[in-house]
């Protein structure tokens, strides 16, 4: 409950901050629409030559694009801004202020910044997803819907933990922004089902940089492709990674010496 209340407070502050720059809203809207349009036009070109891409129909691919924008929206809404702010605050010592607050510091750094205009990507992703589902014309059973939501949550936890682990490295290393950029540039590969990729690349996108769990797996759940192994694997990895992230965060804090030290 407390977590939600805090999240609401941080969100409200961000809204107050950002509404001073309303032009940014239209710019973000423009850029998001362009990006979506590009993704859809790309699909149109490909599906003018085939009606199935590695076993995925056009509408199923549309659902994947929806998930891609939805998860990308979540990342750029809270995860990415919070983690960059964490890295900065470790370097210049302002993390001190967060640590003195009577709340769990990991929670505070994770929700400290909300890039509200990224809600547009989230909304657009959801819109595309709903459109895809309507066009697929199949009734989504309760089990499938639950599987999708479960995998979306697992994917979000995996991505968040991955970012937190990388960002926590800033307690020991000076330049880790670069590492975060690796995820950003590999995320684009998640717009396509990872089953298309050759084994070595699929492995990298699943276990080294967990893009597959963020986009392909939820989309598989939605289109009835999910098998038990993947489901258990995603849940297991989510639990494991969040525990590791917590551990590294703790170790990092112990290593942190503050601004004036």
């Amino acid at each position: 409950m407390n977590t939600l209340r805090l999240l609401a407070v941080f969100f409200r502050v961000s809204v107050l901050n950002e509404t001073a720059y309303r032009v940014n809203f239209f710019l973000q809207l423009f850029q998001s629409l362009l990006e979506l349009g590009t993704a859809l036009a790309g699909l149109a070109v490909i599906f003018s030559y085939t009606n199935s891409l590695g076993g995925w129909s056009p509408n199923e691919m549309l659902a994947l694009v929806g998930v891609y924008f939805l998860v990308g929206g979540i990342i750029s809404l809270v995860i990415q801004p919070g983690m960059s702010a964490l890295i900065d605050s470790v370097r210049d010592g302002t993390l001190d202020f967060t640590l003195t607050k009577p709340e769990d510091a990991q929670l505070l750094v994770s929700i400290q910044r909300v890039a509200i205009w990224s809600l547009l990507d989230l909304l657009m992703g959801t819109g595309v997803l709903v459109t895809a589902l309507v066009r697929l014309g199949q009734s989504i059973g309760a089990a499938q819907a639950a599987g999708f939501i479960g995998m979306l949550l697992a994917g979000a936890v995996i991505v968040y933990s991955f970012w937190l682990i990388l960002a926590s490295l800033s307690f020991w290393l000076v330049r880790v922004e670069n590492l975060l950029e690796i995820f950003q540039s590999m995320y684009q590969a998640g717009r396509w089902p990872v089953s298309l990729y050759p084994g070595w690349l699929r492995f990298a996108l699943t276990f080294i940089v967990p893009v597959a769990f963020a986009t392909t797996v939820p989309a598989e759940a939605l289109t009835g492709r999910l098998n038990g192994t993947t489901l258990l694997g995603a849940v297991g990895l989510a639990i494991l990674l969040s525990a590791i992230a917590r551990l590294i965060w703790r170790l990092g804090l112990r290593h942190y010496s503050g601004a004036s030290a």
Binding site: V23, T38, Y49, L53, R175, S185, Q188, A189
Partner: protein, 273 residues
Amino acid sequence: MSVLEELRGLLRLYAQQFKTTFASMVQYRASLFIWMIAQVLEPLVYLIVWSTVSNGSGGNVGGYTAQGFAGYYLVLMLVNQVTYTWVMYEYEYRVRQGGLSFALLKPVHPIHSDISDNLSSKLVTLPILLVVAGVLAVIFRPTAALSLWAGLVFIPALILAFLVRFLLEWTLALAAFWTTRVNAINQVYFILMLFLAGQIAPLTLFPHWIQILADILPFQWMLGFPVELVLGRLTQIQALEGLAAQAAWLTISLVLVRLVWRAGVQVYSAVGA
């Protein structure tokens, strides 16, 4: 000052810039690695997607087999590497932070240090990318119809592609003189490149009207044309037409760069001035 002396001065400037650029690249090895991932991953993803399409529709899509796509995208990756620039990202910063003022004080046009910086860093990155392309070639087994004449014409085509792309992107970067919101402008440009230069798919796979549009606009002459040329997908007439289009766009971009630069410097007021 005689032309010869002037040329010698420029040569010294390029040599000095190479040393500076090389030193800073060695310093920022990590950025180099991340840049490589982005540079390789995008063509690689399209290579795989189109190969899948080709294999799924009887092994041929618009004249490309899976191996044909492999050839197309590996060469595209290399040509893109030779012709691409990052000056759009830098100009916004230079204008906002006032760093451009120092460049203006120097007795040579600032474009020279950008060209030499661009070429210098490619002397380092191109060999790395060639190795990556070699490894990918072993994995994806590309095919191409190589021929001597196409290989010879490819050299001026590549140089022209570099020049046109450099000048146009440098001109585009000057937008920073008028607005701080260059991201939106750059994004529009990248999307045009994606579709009309042959990045998302070889241009011959697009509907006819898009191909006509691509013939008129500069984008495919900066990237897709040299790629198709060296892969032996163009006739000799098409190759000549391409060179002519490149020459025309070189003229246009030379004029543009002068006009926009002159206008831009006039509206530039450095921080603290």
